[in-house]
Every structure is written in structure tokens, then in C-alpha cells.
């Protein structure tokens, strides 16, 4: 692998309203320093892509944003959301996760019915009126472009759905909670191109109401759907800029090599 200077970086300023920002974020797995000084601002109602080679820390970084790394890694630094440092130990993590939803690489529906998958968390969040539940169920499935395919089978086991459908169900499950921000970790990498393009479409419509941060190792996908792109390398944020710029005028050498396929 080529040696790059990791201390240089180009981070663009975001002029738009911010949904989330990290300040000097450090992540350690035991002695292993996995993320170095991440300072990133994520704009509201935009899609931001995180790209980088395998093991560079994309998932690690993403998982910090809704505190999924609690107990797994040590996370230092600040994560500001609504003027609150949600990385503080005083913060109610359960609330954080309600506002910052997450969808994982491998679809992980609960072993329950389609309907139960969606309303389970809602009920736990104290929503009990039947109307409200039905309404959210339908709304979220529609947003995730799954409604037409499952509306007649809402009591079927979610595990009986195809991979792509399961993944869209997971997205629906997340947005049923009406979060502010949606984190997605390679949501389409296990899916065929048809399912993938369905998911991409879904994201495009969702971005009207949600701020989306997505990890992907598919560069085409990143360039197709995202507004901003951050390139990570060995735990460092090397470049952060509008997607067009990252792909057409990368400022940093590693980024250039990576997007042009001459990397490593």
C-alpha cells in the first residue's frame, strides 16, 4: 500500500444548517486508535456519503453518531446535536437513538410479523392509539416504497421477505420513529441491483424530511445519490467536500487515487 501523509486533509465548510457535527472525535478499540480527530459537519436534509477502503473506520465512525459504540469502543470528543453534546455520559442514549435512526448492512428484521416489526418500537416509545399506529405503519412503509408489496400481508413473518424487501422494512422501521437523522451502513451491499436501485430511490425521496448519512463502498452509488462525500483513510478524514468535487476535483492525493481506482 502506498504511504500517504495522513495529517493533511481538506474539510470544506458547510454553510447550510447543520443536522449533526463532530468535534475532535477519537475512537479507540482498546489500544487500537481507530478514528483520529474527526471534525465533520453534516448538513440538514442532505445525503452525506462516507467512503473509503475496507477497515478505514467508516462503520466505526457512523456507529458513534447514535452511540451504538457504547460498550464496544471508547469514544472521546463531542458530537453536537441540537446544541447538545450527545456523546456525554449524562445523555439519555435511548432518546438519542430515537432521533438518530440506523440501518445496517445486513437486513435485520425482528423475527416477528411485518406489522409488529414496525409498531413494536413505537409502542415502546409510548404510542398506543390504534389510529396513530396504523397511520405510522402505512406512512413509513410507503416512504420506504414497500407498502404496495406487503399491504396485503402485514401479518406475515418479516423473515419471509426477500433481502431487498427486508432492508426496506428496516428503513421503514427506522423512519416510523420519525427520527431527524438516518444513518445507513452499506444498506445495499447485500442486495441485487434491482433492490439496490429501489433503495436508492427511497433515499432520494426521504431526503426531503431526513438528514441522511450513508456508508457505502460502491463509488457509483455514492456519486449517484449523495450531496456531500467524506473520504476516510486509516481512521483519518482525508477529504470532505460536495460529492461533485470529491469525484471530479479531489483536493487530496489519496482521494484522487481512490476515486480513480489507483489506490493501494
Amino acid at each position: 500500500m502506498k504511504e500517504y501523509n495522513l495529517t493533511d486533509s481538506y474539510i470544506t465548510d458547510i454553510t447550510e444548517k447543520k443536522a449533526l457535527s463532530t468535534d475532535n472525535l477519537q475512537v479507540y478499540y482498546g489500544d487500537n486508535h481507530a478514528i483520529f480527530d474527526a471534525n465533520l459537519n453534516f448538513p440538514r436534509y442532505k445525503i452525506t456519503a462516507l467512503i473509503g477502503a475496507s477497515g478505514c473506520g467508516k462503520s466505526t465512525f457512523l456507529r458513534c453518531l447514535n452511540r451504538m459504540n457504547d460498550k464496544v469502543a471508547r469514544v472521546d470528543g463531542e458530537i453536537m446535536y441540537r446544541n447538545t453534546d450527545i456523546n456525554s455520559s449524562k445523555i439519555n442514549v435511548y432518546e438519542v437513538r430515537k432521533h438518530i435512526g440506523m440501518v445496517f448492512q445486513r437486513p435485520n428484521p425482528f423475527a416477528k410479523s411485518i406489522k409488529e416489526n414496525i409498531i413494536f418500537a413505537l409502542k415502546n416509545a409510548g404510542i398506543n392509539q390504534k389510529d396513530e399506529l396504523e397511520e405510522r405503519l402505512e406512512q413509513s412503509l410507503k416512504s420506504a416504497a414497500l407498502w404496495d408489496e406487503v399491504k396485503d400481508n402485514l401479518n406475515k413473518s418479516a423473515l419471509a421477505l426477500s433481502g431487498g424487501q427486508q432492508q426496506r422494512l428496516c428503513i421503514a422501521r427506522s423512519i416510523a420513529m420519525k427520527p431527524d437523522i438516518l444513518l445507513l451502513d452499506e444498506p445495499a451491499s447485500a442486495l441485487d441491483p434491482i433492490s439496490t436501485s429501489k433503495i436508492e430511490e427511497t433515499l432520494q425521496t426521504l431526503k426531503k424530511d431526513y438528514s441522511i448519512i450513508i456508508v457505502t463502498h460502491n463509488l457509483q452509488q455514492a456519486s449517484r445519490i449523495s450531496d456531500y462525500t467524506a473520504f476516510l483513510h486509516l481512521g483519518h478524514i482525508i477529504e470532505y467536500n460536495s460529492t461533485v468535487n470529491v469525484f471530479t476535483h479531489p483536493k487530496m492525493r489519496p482521494t484522487e487515487d481512490y476515486v480513480s481506482g489507483n489506490f493501494g
Binding site: R97, G101, V103, A111, N124, R173
Partner: protein, 295 residues
């Protein structure tokens, strides 16, 4: 010899081993059932035991066994669940946890006589619970717990982390995630463990001789007041179980038909375990399907 020949040979050896085990199993079960089943009658199942004369039944012993089984499960399942959840979900990966695990496992290999005597001194005498179903249930809990805990822990561990992450990322507490998502998914495994331990409880004698006692006072099956001393539900009464009965009949009994009672009781015991086994599996599958909406 080439690989294919060795493959055939190994397959042959394995089939031989399996068949010999099956033959042993059938021989044992056959021996017990063949000797016992002809003597099982409605009268045998529904009448009280006799001390000196022939023709006694096992009504009370059978009921006691079932009741004790249920009580033991009521006592040990929640504790086992709590401890299993602790070990799989909360326990840090350090030496204290290892120590806890080791001590739990040591408990599981203690001879049951020792557990019985301990239960006798502590519960029957010190805590003044007397020879009672309750003392028996607590003693049985002792060696049921380690197995149950271990089994629950492993079943929970078997559920992929993806499921936990799903729950957590929705803002659910880890308790809710564990009890409502992970636990149902682990149900089939937990059930197998429960059935195994139920079998062990049902067949245990040594630990009960000194705790639940070796006599089955006549009880009133119409008295539903569990505080009444004559009530069949009273957990404070002594209760000889079927396994203890088999033991006693074989070792000390002067009843003329001791041999017959012993073999018929053994057969009944096995049949009940079988029914329990199948029933629990059936109900468990139903429950699992209901929770997971699969068919």
C-alpha cells in the same frame, strides 16, 4: 486405501456406532417398558400407596412429582433467566465473570446427595421449612440452576448481534431488546434446555430423600386452599415423588409386590417424561410461531 474407500469405511464405522447406541437405547427403554407397562392400570395410577400389603398405587407420588416439577421450574426458571441474561448480555469479559461461571458449573457437578444433605440442614432444619415440597423444590433448584443458566446463556448468545443492534438502534432499552427480541428468538434452545432439566428433576431421588421427604401423607384433592395442611396444593407438606418411591420400594419396602410397583413406576415415569417432552416441544413451537409470526 484411497480417500473414497476411507470415506466408506468411516461412514460404516459411524453407522455401526449409531446403531449400537440405538440398540442400547431401545434395550433400556424396552426393558423398562416391557417390564412395567403390563402392570400399569387405572387402579395403579389412581390409588394410594400401601406400606405392607400388595395392590398399592402411585397416585400421590405421581402428583407430587408433577407438582414438584412445576414448583421447581417456577423457582428456578426466573433465576436462571436472570442469571443467563446477566451472563450473556451484561457480564464484562473478565476474571470475575469467569469465576462466577466456574462456580456455577462446579455446582452442576456436585453429587446430588450432597445437595440433598445441604438442603436438609439449611432449609429443613435451619430455616424450619420442614420436609416439604418447598424444601425439595429449593434443593432441586440447586442443581437445576447451573444447567439451566448455562443453557439459557448459550441460547441467548446464539442469537445474532444484528438483532440486538436492531433493537438498540430504535431507542429500545437493552432490557426490552433482550426480553422482547432476543429471548423469543432464543426460545427453541431454551426450551430444549428446560425439557432436559425437567427430565432430570423428574428422575431425581437422592436430593429429595432428605428434603421433600420419603412419605406421601394422604391429601385431599378437593381442597384448593393452599394453606390448609390437607390440601394437595400445600407446598409445606412432605411429598414423596415417583423417583423416591421407586428408590424406597426397592431398598426398604416390605410390600409383597415391590418389584411390580418399581417396574410399573419406572415405566410411568418414562412415559410421563416422554409426554412432557413432546408436549413442551409442541407448545414451544406454537409459542415460537406465534411470537415470530412464522406460519
Amino acid at each position: 486405501m484411497n480417500a473414497k474407500k476411507i470415506d466408506h469405511l468411516a461412514t460404516g464405522v459411524i453407522y455401526t456406532l449409531v446403531i449400537s447406541v440405538i440398540v442400547i437405547l431401545i434395550a433400556i427403554l424396552g426393558y423398562i417398558l416391557f417390564n412395567g407397562v403390563p402392570d400399569i392400570s387405572w387402579h395403579f395410577l389412581t390409588s394410594a400407596a400401601q406400606s405392607f400389603s400388595a395392590g398399592g398405587g402411585i397416585r400421590d407420588q405421581l402428583f407430587n412429582s408433577l407438582y414438584l416439577l412445576i414448583l421447581t421450574i417456577i423457582v428456578s426458571l426466573p433465576i436462571g433467566l436472570g442469571a443467563g441474561i446477566y451472563l450473556s448480555e451484561y457480564a464484562p469479559n473478565n476474571w470475575t465473570t469467569e469465576l462466577i461461571r466456574t462456580s456455577v458449573e462446579v455446582l452442576s457437578s456436585l453429587p446430588s446427595v450432597v445437595v440433598g444433605l445441604f438442603g436438609y440442614l439449611l432449609f429443613v432444619i435451619k430455616l424450619n421449612l420442614g420436609f416439604s415440597i418447598l424444601s425439595g423444590a429449593i434443593a432441586l433448584t440447586f442443581f437445576n440452576l447451573p444447567l439451566l443458566t448455562r443453557n439459557i446463556e448459550e441460547s441467548l448468545r446464539g442469537v445474532p448481534d444484528l438483532q440486538r443492534e436492531a433493537g438498540m438502534s430504535l431507542g429500545l432499552s437493552s432490557w426490552k431488546t433482550t426480553t422482547k427480541i432476543v429471548l423469543p428468538a432464543a426460545l427453541p434452545g431454551i426450551l430444549t434446555g428446560l425439557i432436559l432439566s425437567a427430565g432430570r428433576i423428574f428422575g431425581e431421588a437422592a436430593a429429595l430423600i432428605y428434603t421433600a421427604g420419603q412419605s406421601a401423607p394422604t391429601v385431599d384433592y378437593t381442597n384448593w386452599n393452599i394453606f390448609s395442611t390437607t390440601s394437595f396444593l400445600n407446598p409445606m407438606r412432605p411429598a414423596e415423588t415417583l423417583a423416591v418411591h421407586i428408590w424406597k420400594v426397592n431398598t426398604e419396602s416390605v410390600t409383597p409386590d415391590a418389584h411390580l410397583i418399581s417396574s410399573a413406576s419406572s415405566a410411568v415415569l418414562i412415559i410421563v417424561i416422554l409426554i412432557f417432552n413432546l408436549g413442551a416441544r409442541f407448545l414451544g413451537n406454537k409459542l415460537y410461531n406465534k411470537i415470530t409470526a412464522s406460519k
